[in-house]
Each structure stands twice: as structure tokens, then as C-alpha cells.
Amino acid sequence: MADIKQIIAARVAKELKDGDVVNLGIGLPTMVANFLPEGVDIVLQSENGIMGMGPAPASGDEDVDIVNAGAQYVTVNPGAMFFDSATSFGIIRGGHVDATILGALEVDQHGNLANWIVPGKMVPGMGGAMDLVVGAKKVIVSMQHTQKGAHKILKECKLPYTAVGVVDMIITEMGVMEVKPEGITLTELHPDFTLDEIKAATGCELIISPDLKPME
């Protein structure tokens, strides 16, 4: 199997439409920008104050005043804009971001998301995640299907919520799932896995779409 993160990022990229305003979380989601299909140009929003973020600069070409939300040097594309954090989150909460792609510790069948705290163990903080998932028009969770075998897709989140009922789609190395009122529906299955394998790796009932397709 090719690199798991690349498989996930490449599949997430297909969800984006030309002209979409998109906020990518740190880590795996950042890779999505490398897999955009031909003819799809998106406008990347970075919550630390960029609309129109570009790729990383070549070594030696860094502008020390321009970084992404992961504090790495980035460039900006022609037509970009910088703004303050209040404006940035006005854009986010105001529904002007078409899609946000981020990781999760847990997601449940109601679309509840937990990704900011493990009480007593890890308290990184929510950063901009709570605002992003509440404000973005489409919330795509991109993550490995399990945490070393432990279920991350559950009946009910055990960890404190980032937000309730916000997740629209989950994309993992095993498949593509949509969160619907009736539950989590598998729409695509990666050819490297069987239905039994993905069901076993999922902590809640997985509804199989009648139009189930192979994940590419």
C-alpha cells in the first residue's frame, strides 16, 4: 500500500471544487493542496491572516513576516490579502469558507467531533478548530481509520467535543464516509480492504451505500 497519508490527501483533494475557499488543518490536511486535480484552483485561507496562501517558498526565498498557521514559511499567490485575527474568524464563522479539512481524535455517528483535548494527558487547546467546524460550509475529517487499532469512529465520542453535529464527511485510508441523519454511510471502499475489515475497524454501525464504489 502506498503511503497512507498520501492516499487520504489525494482522495480529499477530489472533494474540492474550482474556486472553493478552503482552510487546511496542520499535518495531513496540508498535503491536500499537493493533489488538486487539473483545472481546480482553490483559494487557501490561513487563520493567522491570509486569503490566497501559496506553497512553501524555495530555501533562501523566505519572507520572515509570512508564515502559515503551523508557523512555517509560506508564500502568497497573486491576489492574496492579509488581515487580522478578528477579520479572519469573521470570515470563518460567517460561512465564507467552503470547506475545512482537519484531523480528529474521535468522530461519532452524529457528526460530533473531538480533536482538542485528552483530559489529564494532552491539553493542546482548540486553536481555531471550534470556529472552523462551526463556520465552514463543509467539514471533512481526514485521518487514519484507527489509532493503532483503537476505534476513532464511534457511536458516541468519549473525549470532550470540539463541536456537535458538524462533520459532513470522513475520509480515511479505508474508505469515504458521509455523515447522514441515519448514520455513517460508506460510499467508497479502498480496494486494499474488505467490507468486513472496515466494519471491524469502525466503532459504530456502518451503513453501506447501495452505490458503493471503489475509492481511488
Partner: protein, 255 residues
């Protein structure tokens, strides 16, 4: 129009400095905002509440942080987007044991936070209050804009909502979030004129413009100090009316 023409056109802009009629007395008053870093923080005492601009230390006035570390004031309440990283931004204050309470949205990239929150020495214990980033930015904005708070959907149904009023508007639930103000704000400018008018390059802007409006005494640590009139009014982000002290010599940020 080629780029050369654009540059010429910009140079032909009205001479802004001639539009200002500044008396010698006013000039004296304005120039008095220029201070050394040490002078600018002279009034900051133990227990002060301080807003610090920046995002992962990009847009944080290191020159002012260094002066605070040198002065070694303690039991500070710091309001900042994050905890910086060890050796950068408010991370320096944390490492030096100067912060009692940290109000921030994200602290995961500074391992000292967890260490200091979990210490058994009661006196050194760090209190960390986590606030969603958009809510933090808007609370500071509200504090500077005379608002009694605002309603946000962020945090509804989560532990962020604990103890807060939930208000329903047109069928959707919102949290009432209250304004934040501070005794001092330490902000970082790219170019500041002698009145305090300030511009911010790239992603250094972050929380700085809001914080400049939400504290009793506002200090800007800036990379370049210029004469009044040298910044095109179209480009000023923070008006000099908000600035009490100007400290030059801030260096550009390096990761």
C-alpha cells in the same frame, strides 16, 4: 501600465507631510512617545494583566518581551493567542516563571505549559484558560470597541459553554461571550510613525490591531520608526491615538 509606471505614480502621490500642520509643541508631545524598551514597561508591576500580540510568536514584540524578562515582574496574567515556543514570544515569560494565568487558544507547541500546569509546587502552578481563537479575537475586539459582549455559535454544546449564558436567536443557539481588556498591550509593528500610526507586514498583524484598542496603556515594539506623514494614511492599520509608547529596534521575526 508596467511596474515602472506604477512606481512613478506612487511617487507622484500628494506629498502627505505637507498636508499636516504640526506645531513645535505638538511635535514635542508626539516625540515623547519614543521610549527605550525598559522605559516603556516601567509601569508594569507584579500581577499586571498584559495582552501580547502575535501568532506562534510571529507578530510578537520580542524587544518588549525581553525587557519584561529582564525586569522579572511576576504573577502576570497574559492574554495571547498561544504560548509561543520555548525561547520565543511569551514562551520566554513562561520559562522564566513570570506567568500566573495564561488566556490563550492553543498551547500545544510549548511543552512547558503542561509541565507548569502539572507542577506540585502550588506557587509555580500555571492556570491556563483556553478560549477558541475566533472567540478570543472577538472578545479583545469587543473590549476595545465598547461592546458588552457578543453572541457566537462557537463552543455551543462543548465544555467551552460551561457557565455561560446560551441565547437563542431565530432558532439557533449562541454563547454570550464577554469583552476582554487589559492593563497593558504589547504589540508589534513593522513601520510606526512618531504619532504611533502603525502598519503590519504579512502575517504579523494577527491580534495586534485589536489589542492596541483594548488596554489602558499600549506599547508598540516596531521594526522601523519614521516621521509623521511618511506612512500613507491609506496603509495605516492602527491609529496613533491608541499608542502610548513607541519602542524602535524590533528585529524581523525568524523561525
Amino acid at each position: 501600465m508596467n511596474p515602472g509606471h506604477i512606481r512613478e505614480a506612487m511617487m507622484c502621490e500628494p506629498h502627505i507631510e505637507e498636508d499636516f500642520d504640526i506645531t513645535e509643541k505638538e511635535k514635542g508631545r508626539l516625540i515623547n512617545k519614543l521610549k527605550t524598551a525598559q522605559e516603556s514597561i516601567a509601569e508594569i508591576k507584579d500581577g499586571a494583566t498584559i495582552m501580547v500580540g502575535g501568532f506562534m510568536a510571529c507578530g510578537t514584540p520580542e524587544i518588549l518581551i525581553d525587557a519584561l524578562v529582564e525586569k522579572n515582574v511576576k504573577k502576570l496574567t497574559i492574554i495571547c493567542n498561544d504560548a509561543g515556543v520555548p525561547g520565543r514570544g511569551v514562551g520566554k515569560l513562561l520559562s522564566n516563571g513570570q506567568i500566573k494565568t495564561l488566556i490563550a487558544s492553543h498551547v500545544g507547541l510549548n511543552p512547558e505549559v503542561a509541565k507548569r500546569m502539572n507542577t506540585d509546587v502550588e506557587e509555580d502552578k500555571l492556570e491556563c484558560i483556553l478560549v477558541p481563537q475566533g472567540t478570543l479575537a472577538e472578545r479583545v475586539r469587543a473590549g476595545g470597541a465598547g461592546l458588552g459582549g457578543f453572541l457566537t455559535p462557537t463552543g455551543v454544546g462543548t465544555i467551552v459553554a460551561e457557565g455561560k449564558q446560551v441565547i437563542e436567536v431565530d432558532g439557533r443557539e449562541y454563547l454570550l461571550e464577554k469583552p476582554l481588556r487589559a492593563d497593558f498591550a504589547l504589540i508589534r509593528g513593522s513601520v510606526t510613525d512618531m504619532f504611533g500610526n502603525t502598519t503590519y507586514n504579512g502575517t504579523t498583524r494577527t491580534f495586534n490591531p485589536m489589542m492596541a484598542t483594548a488596554a489602558d496603556y499600549v506599547i508598540v515594539g516596531t521594526c522601523e520608526v519614521v516621521e509623521i506623514g511618511e506612512i500613507d494614511p491609506n496603509n495605516v492599520v492602527t491609529s496613533g491615538i491608541f499608542i502610548d509608547a513607541i519602542v524602535g529596534g524590533e528585529t524581523q521575526w525568524q523561525i
